[in-house]
Structure formats: structure tokens, C-alpha cells
Symmetry: D2
Subunit: 289 residues, 4 copies
Amino acid sequence: MTDSTKNAAILLIHCQDKPGIVMTVTEFIHHNGGNILYLDQHVDGGRGIFFMRIAWDLAKFAIQREKIAEYFETLVGSRYQMTSQLHFSDTKPRMAIFVSKMPHCFYDLLARYESGELNVDIPIVISNHDKLRKATERLGITFHCLPISKENKPQKEREQKTLLQKHGIDFIVLARYMQVLSDDFVSDYPQRIINIHHSFLPAFPGGRPYHNAYERGVKIIGATSHYVTAELDAGPIIEQDVVQVSHKDSIEDMIRIGRDLEKIVLARAVRHHVHHDLLVYENCTVVFE
Amino acid sequence: MTDSTKNAAILLIHCQDKPGIVMTVTEFIHHNGGNILYLDQHVDGGRGIFFMRIAWDLAKFAIQREKIAEYFETLVGSRYQMTSQLHFSDTKPRMAIFVSKMPHCFYDLLARYESGELNVDIPIVISNHDKLRKATERLGITFHCLPISKENKPQKEREQKTLLQKHGIDFIVLARYMQVLSDDFVSDYPQRIINIHHSFLPAFPGGRPYHNAYERGVKIIGATSHYVTAELDAGPIIEQDVVQVSHKDSIEDMIRIGRDLEKIVLARAVRHHVHHDLLVYENCTVVFE
Amino acid sequence: MTDSTKNAAILLIHCQDKPGIVMTVTEFIHHNGGNILYLDQHVDGGRGIFFMRIAWDLAKFAIQREKIAEYFETLVGSRYQMTSQLHFSDTKPRMAIFVSKMPHCFYDLLARYESGELNVDIPIVISNHDKLRKATERLGITFHCLPISKENKPQKEREQKTLLQKHGIDFIVLARYMQVLSDDFVSDYPQRIINIHHSFLPAFPGGRPYHNAYERGVKIIGATSHYVTAELDAGPIIEQDVVQVSHKDSIEDMIRIGRDLEKIVLARAVRHHVHHDLLVYENCTVVFE
Amino acid sequence: MTDSTKNAAILLIHCQDKPGIVMTVTEFIHHNGGNILYLDQHVDGGRGIFFMRIAWDLAKFAIQREKIAEYFETLVGSRYQMTSQLHFSDTKPRMAIFVSKMPHCFYDLLARYESGELNVDIPIVISNHDKLRKATERLGITFHCLPISKENKPQKEREQKTLLQKHGIDFIVLARYMQVLSDDFVSDYPQRIINIHHSFLPAFPGGRPYHNAYERGVKIIGATSHYVTAELDAGPIIEQDVVQVSHKDSIEDMIRIGRDLEKIVLARAVRHHVHHDLLVYENCTVVFE
């Protein structure tokens, strides 16, 4: 699944399912000179909801970029009471990383960034420790150390928000950031904070999933990336993966094995977010691939 | 992915990719009163080919069943030089099983058949041994034992074909049938003979894949279901799956572990075929899910 | 991992880890003329426990079968305060199946039984419905229909126990048996009742795991086989496996996809139990492979 | 599986299987005051070979480190004609990385190195391009750019060997190094050069496995880490893993998806090598876990 065109529009839609939606949307694009590069649609029969991702080349499209959203809403969206998002493939999202001391997800994201695999700008890294300053700054990224305690949390979160605004941040990746964000903070970034949890959710939420997995004697461990919501470890799941373990694996082994899962599962979620591949509906994600 | 409607049309299309295909096809269905139940399309950028599976409810469709193919070809297909197949969800395909002595895939298919999981009729089982006669006949299925030797192969294959025609067979499943079909036989059933091969093709084609896997020291073994073509074990792959092994597994262990893979991978392929979920193009399959 | 010898002893041991255990056990076998066929040991560092499975050929073993347990306990076991079990490879366990209406695990077990893959005797099937009588009886297995209601449960469980004793049953397999066994019943068969649960435990215990998985929007579903204990779906896990799903999969799709997982995961657990491959310790299993 | 003790001996053994080996080896350790930390043994029934990995604490061991190999060979090894290797857990192997331009495996290894996950010293990186100099040198590792052409290959390989000797290199990791090493070079480092091949070997050896996978229409792609031998992509396999793909994945998608596989599979192999977890026998590996 690739839409590598420099200049493409990406539209994500959902609405009550009704006859004629695909036809109407494709007519809108085709009749205005757009060449469809990608189309995927899904009807959730249980929920009765229509979902669609459609991308088209803007080279010969009759409607100006800044007018597309308005025209689409007027001519198509309002007819079906659609909820829609419009993105452009040539706009690079600006991503912030929040990290504590554990570096595996962090290093993995930076390596993808440095090698050009991740189509984002990363202007800033925020941490509650100073440990990863050097690894951040050597790539020319600003590093801010904001140690958080129970007492200073509201104050520090305000400082974080100021930094995020100053750097024009579109979304935040919690790369094993060992702090719980306040509801207030989370509500400012709906579906724009991605977390990696080190278990196969909903099994083992909370702070010690590998210990819990060991005690429960599971034969498989997992990792889950999800959007952060007010309820801890309960937001919409973007990606999950698992790996077999056995009685031979100690908690330390599980932590080690889990690291590789976590970094892959987080990176996949970031990729989906950056490519506008996913929609959230009723705390579930629709991931177009 | 479910189209459980009693009375639906399923259309599989491929052609050179051009602008407007999705719009044109959905207009054809929508303007004639068809309610689209499923739509998936894929453009193979490398090959420049457009693929589509679309299903719609026939309840209020203006065109009679027996005329749909003609109308579609005239009004849409010819315009894009499409290759298309039309199926109806209320038509149960008639399936023959070819089997030798190894019963695991055979038992698994029959259990799915008996429990109603497999939406087919199985009028006949053909084998080169008599071993599985009882297990066949207790489900009311006709069993034919046709022992094949080098000498009598052309004669026996003629008898097989006569039986297949007599029972109105649509497609054949080789459930670990230990005979190689002649090119002549294969060419009579293009994309209508499904085989299960006990390796992760193209690794280890031929008759002793588990022995070869053991000797090569692989850490993963697999199974592959594919359409049979003239070239042995080289037809279009429908499904593959794998399982981890280790140095602890002897050849016998691999054979045992592999049995479970084989039956699952074969059953998935049969399901895709029966549900008209797949297209073949240039010896590859497009499997809509 | 195979010990196919007709006449082998299999010893399962656990105790506090101390120096010299492996040496002492192997000396006991070797000095008495036993040829070791299999040896695997594991030290759980966190719990400080030593686990071992050792199998040896009895052909030239100096100690008579019925005396081995006593000699071992006196000469070795008591020294290390070992908990041990002794089994003989030529003893076929007697297994009962409990089933309701859903036949997939049931058919799968019977197919393995019929093809000789499962090294057990199955004298009896007990069900709360009559649906699978024919499929049972055609293999020469006794079928008992004992419909259970809230009111008659204690009475029916007494009847079940009488039947199990009469048929000399060693262990019970719940092949999607939709009844909760009473604590009383369970306590009569410690580590001798194997259940298949249709989720990746501890996620989604209870009666509607696929519905719960769909609502939570997980990207992977699983199945778990475990020994039954007093607490529902909380017994020691024997085997787990998972499969990827997506937003495209309805609850019905998950149920269908899950069936194949369930039967494989249950069959693997039965195999481990029958081959005396596993030990239970603190609600966890040690599975030697 | 962890032997984190500072001061442990690790012994890897293989020989013809005979009665009494485990007893004899454990007696040697136990009677000389060694506390066994890890023991795993495997008998390959098909090949008739006994394999063992055993580790013990040296704190109270009666035999001096530099004498252990000699004593073991005299007292035990020679009796069974064993092939054995002795390692010490407190010796850090010295590893060289060979890399070309593709950085994903390289970055992943360096991140593990930097975070202390990889118990090695990396004094030197050798490349045929200058691209990754900066990323190497910022970790204080020496970078050597040796561009190789058909003509200068013997000369450049001599220079490589000189560098490897100068830096006391124990083993080499080819992190997507796009050059074929000469037989001469390979024979100098038997079982000491680890390569990552970007396919599920033996499927798709050679230089374009993702292209070949796409053309063959496989539904699963893989990666294989192996020791380098004279025959290209045919050395003993250490680790393999796979991931599902579909018709939706272009060659570029496969390359991208494969990168994450490659780095994980290579890192696992390096870990096994560094921890002395594996033995090679008849072009197969025995990997103790």
C-alpha cells in the first residue's frame, strides 16, 4: 500500500452506511479531474457504519487545495452526514517524542528518522531525565528535561504544552514514557498521542505487565500501541504483536524479548498515523493497509 | 469479510488500470438498483493492473440474473477490456476430494462439511487406496477407489474425468493425494484444482519436504496451498502458513507438527475458492479479505 | 522430542534447587542399567525451583517397574524433598470428552483418535445434548446424554462421576463444553481436566470472548488450553496461540477464525498431557518439549 | 535462559551418543566444587549425536580456569571422543561490523551496543562506502572505508584481515554488507562470520529476494541469519523469522516490512553467538535456549 505521489489528497470518511456512497465519492473526484491512487472502504455490518480511505493525484484536480474540504462537504459530505478528514501527502507532520530512561523505542524511532524511513519532522524530545540528551542533540533535535513530581506535575505539563505549541507539534509519541499524562493534557491532543504498552492489552494493563505475565504463566507475550485516552491503557488499539515465551523465560528474559516487540509495534503505529491510514470509531481503529 | 446474503452477485474483475473504473462499476450497480454489500479493489502499481471484487444484493436489481454478465460486458467490461467472472452467492459449488492414505486433511475437510462450515456439496471422493472408504460413505458420499500405476494412468485419469463430469464437479481438492496429475488432466481444470504442499514453497518442492527441511536445518516449516498447474508445485499460491521448529524436532516431529498446518492452510484455500475471494494473475493470486 | 520406545519410564520431578541433583538422578538410572532416552531440566531462578523430565529405557533396568517409585523415593527423592510422578510409556491413558453442540474441537479430537495420532483410549463421551451421538457411536465410543439444569446439576454430576469411574477414566477433555463444573467435581480431578478457552487468557475470560474482543478492537485473537481449577478460566495455562484479525472481521468472522485456533491449541495440550510432558507449579506449567 | 553470573564456565559438547554422558559430565563439575547454573542436552536420534551446553559457577571450582579445558579433555572428553568448546562468561567477545549503505541493521546493532544490551566490544566498522562514518565515530568506534572492486578485492581483503587482527576481532557481523567474501577470507573465520539474508532461506537465495518473492506471489516473507560458508547463502541457519504479506504489498513494501525482520533476526543470532548458545553440526545449528 503506497501513495508515494508528491501531491496527493487523502480523505478519510465515516458515516452511516447507505447505498451509493462509493459512487458519489468517486464521481466527485473523477469528474473534477482527480486520478484515484488508492481506495479502500469497509462496512462494519455490526455497527452499520461505512468507512473509507481514498487518495487521489492533485496534479490535474480542478478544485484548489484549500477549497477541497469545503467543496467536498457541500457536495458530498453533508448529503450523507459524513465525518471526514482531509490530508495532503506533501505535508510532513511534526512529531514530539516523550521518553524516560529506557532507550530501545527511542533509539529505534531516531534510527528510522535518521535513515529517512519516517516521513516526519522531529523538532523536540521531552524527558523527565537527562539521560538521552546527547543521543537527541547529536541529530540536531532540541532536548528538554522536565523532571516531574506529584507536586509539580500541573506546572510541568503547562511547560510541556508551551513547548509543543512553540514547536508546532502535530502529535506526540510516548516512547516508554513512564509518566501518566493528566486528563487535561490528554484532552488537548485527541487521537494525537500514541503510546506503546508492553503487554497484549487488555491483558496486563498497568505498570508491571511482564511481572504479571510471568506470574500468570502465559505462553505468549505481546505489545500494544494505542491512542492515549483518559482511561489508562484503554484507548483505541492501533497495532499489536506477540511472541512465544516458555517456562524457561525469566521476567528479565521477557523484558528483553519484549523490547524488540515494543519497538516494532510502536513504529508501525507511528507509520499508520503519519500516513493517515487509520480512523477511530467507538474506541476501535479502522486501519487501512 | 462476510457476504451472507442469500441472493447476491459477486463480480471479480481485472484490467489495465485507468481512471474512472470504480466509478463506472459502482454506477452500473447503483443505477440499476443494486445495493453494494462488499467492495474491494487493488491496483498493482508494479504491473499496472486494476483488480476488483464487488458484491451486491440482487433483491431489487433491475437486470435478470442470466442477463447480468451480458449487460455488464456490453456497458462496462468492453470499455476497459476487462476480464471478469460473475458468481452468485446462492449457488453451492460441487467439490471432489482426491486422497491417498494420509487422512488428516481429509478428515478435517469432512468435519467442516459435516458441521456446515464449508458451503459446498461433496458428491464424490476419489482415492488410489481403499482405506478411507468407510469414513467417506458414512457421510453419504460416493467413494471410488482407482489404484493408479505408471501403466494405467491415462486410462484411470479418463475414468476420473468421467466420474467428475457425471457428478457435475466444479473443482477438485487434492487432500494429500500422492499422485502427480498429467498435464492433460490439469489443463481441463484451470484454477479449479487446489493442492496442499507440505512446505513453505518455493522452498522444498517435491516429495520429501520435511526430510529436506530437517537436513537444511531450517528453524521454521510451512505449508502452501496453491492451484495446480503443469509445472509441479509451481502454481499460484493461495495461502501459506508457518510454524517454528528447532533442533529438537526430528523428521517425525516435523511431519506431525506439519499436519496441523496443512489442514488449516488447505481449508483456508478451499474457503477462498468457494467464496470467490480470489483472482489469479500472472501466476499470483489476489486474495480479497 | 520423541520417546517412542515401547517400554520406557518417564519421571517428572520438582524440588528446591540444590547442587548435584542432575548427577544424583542420572547416577540412579545409569548405575541400575537404564539408558537415558530424554533429559530436560529447568531451574526457575526467580522461584528457586528445580524441574526435570527424564525418560529411560527399561529393557535392562535392574529395578522392577512396580518397585521403581519406591526405590527412587528412598534413594533420591527423600534426599532432596522431591515431588515426583512416575509414568510408563506403554500405558495408554483413558480419556473422556465432554462436549455440548459445537463440534469443531470434538471432530478434531476424534479424527486424531481415529487416525492413531492420539495415544489414548476414549471409552466415553458425555454431552448435555444429543447432537453428537451419531458421530460418537460410529467410532464405537459410548455416548451419554446428560442434560444439565441449575436444579439437577448436583445429581447429574454424580451420574457423570459414576460413569467416569465405571470407565476407568484418567482425564477429561472439555471440548467446548458449555457448562461450568462445580468446585466439588473439579477437586476430584486435579490437573486432570483440560479446557479450551476461546481467548488469549487472561484477556477476555467468561462466556463471550469474541464479542468482547470485537468491542475492544483488538488486532489479534487467541485460544488458551488450561487445567481446570476452582476459579473460572484461571487454571494453569498449557498452550496458547493467536491469529491476526482486523477491523474487517465481524464477530462471526472471529468465531470462525477462532475455531481453527481452538482445535489446534486443545489438541496440543492433550498431547502434552498424554505424553507426560508437563508439570504444574504455583498455577504455572513447565512444558518440556 | 540467563547465566548472568560474572564468573561462569560454559561448555559446549558434541559426540556420538552413549550411555552415561550426562552423569559423567555432571560428576566432573560437581565433584570439583562447581555449581551447575544451566544444563541442556539434546540427542539427535536421526544422526545419533549427543549435544550439550552446560554452565557452572567458578567461584568454588577446584580447577584453575586455564587448566579446565585440559582436565576436562583428559578425564571426560577423550573417553567419549567429544568435540568441545570452553568459554567464560566474563570474557567480552570483540565484534567487527561490515556494512554497506543500508543502515537499518547497523543502527539497530549500534543502539543495542550503546544501551548495553549487547555484551560485546565493537572496536571497528568496515564499509565499502563512507556513508555511515559519522554514525560510527560518534560512538567512539573506528571506521574504515575500503571500497571494493573486482580488481582490488584480494588487496582489500588483505587490508581487512590486517585490521581485524590489529583490533583482536573474534567474530564479524555482516549487517547487509553487499559484497561476497572470498572463500579464502571465509575459511579464516569458520563459524565466526554471521550474515543476515533477506529471505526465508532456502527460498530465494541471491541478491534480489524481495523481487523474487513478489514475482512468485508468496504470502509470507522472511529473514535468515546464518554463518557464512563458502557456498553463498547456504551456511548453517541460526535464526529465521517471517511476516505475512499480501497482494497489496509492492516490492517496496516488502523491502520496508522486511527491514524490521532483518534487524531482529540478525540481533538474535548475534546474541546466541555472544552467549555461546549454539553449536554447528553437519551444516545445522543446535541452539540452546
